[in-house]
Amino acid sequence: MLKYILPLLLFIVLAVFLALGLNLHPSEIPSPLINKAVPAFSAPKLQAPAEKLSPTDLKGKVWLFNVWASWCASCRSEHPVLNQLAQTKAAIIVGLNYKDEPEAALGWLAQLGNPYDVSIMDQDGRIGIDWGVYGVPETFVIDKQGVIRYKHTGPVTPEDVQQTFLPLIAKLQAEN
């Protein structure tokens, strides 16, 4: 009896591991920043380099922090989704223009539309390091207390917006 059960058990164990492995996304690294306060920065605004923005300016508001660049191909596919999300006015969208040329970035916004309430510049990638950015695009959701509640790696899809972002934003807007 054992002779038949043992290979069957081995097969089941192997199959379960392989099935789990198929559903893993090894390129998505869990961020240790979830449920931590936002990393501090004070960065020049893309459209007004003389002015600076820091996270304390956004205290008391729910905001999205979207890392983008004009050289990033998947940002282009994500852009219309962000434009639509911006129209719902569900939350403030802050853009981090990551390792980009300001002219190229401004040209991109002029051409494709600007979903951001404000974009800040991170030309040498230091803010990116503080936020644990390793791939563009990335999107963080920050609550009213300035705590990172969610991180999305890769382009945001319309399904992500409907299933994850809007419900989460609604929940965070209801918090104090």
């Binding site: 869990p30 240790p32 990393p39 390792k99 990638g125 230091r126 390091i129 503080d130 644990g132």
Partner: protein, 152 residues
């Protein structure tokens, strides 16, 4: 068009420069710490390379970060902590032993034990199978069969 080609050339020149990095260290210990750290930190973009090996832009930024922190007199632990605070344990090629990484560390030992037990059980079964006793009656039959075969 002319404008575009200039932009293209500028981008290329950036790539050409990225190949060579010039770092100056205050002392050999600092240099050793730099080389040690960059070869223990994972490049998050090309996950099977260290930041010392990788040509990815992020790897270059992280090398710069390590260098600057060493210049500021930060210790190796400080820098490793800085990186894990931002990127998690995954950034370390030599992750610390804790509940989450337990399987990673113990896994190979467990598999070795399973293998040894399997080999032990398997060989023991074979040995016992080899020493099956044959009754006198059967031996007689075998002999007669063999002799029969010889005659034909």
């Amino acid at each position: 068009m002319k404008h575009l080609s200039i932009v293209f050339l500028l981008i290329l020149s950036g790539i050409a420069c990225a190949g060579v990095e010039y770092r100056e260290f205050a002392n050999p210990e600092q240099q050793a710490a730099y080389e040690n750290l960059t070869s223990e930190l994972r490049c998050l973009v090309c996950q099977n390379q260290t930041i010392a090996d990788s040509n990815a832009e992020l790897a270059a930024d992280l090398r710069r970060q390590v260098y600057e922190m060493l210049q500021q007199g930060k210790s190796k632990q400080d820098i490793a902590q800085f990186m894990t605070d931002r990127y998690g344990d995954f950034v370390l090629y030599n992750p610390p032993f804790k509940l989450k990484t337990g399987l990673l560390w113990i896994g190979p030992v467990v598999f070795l034990l399973i293998g040894l037990i399997a080999v032990f059980l398997f060989t023991r079964r074979k040995r016992s199978a080899a020493t099956v006793e044959i009754s006198a009656e059967k031996q007689q039959k075998i002999r007669s069969l063999l002799e029969e075969g010889d005659q034909s």
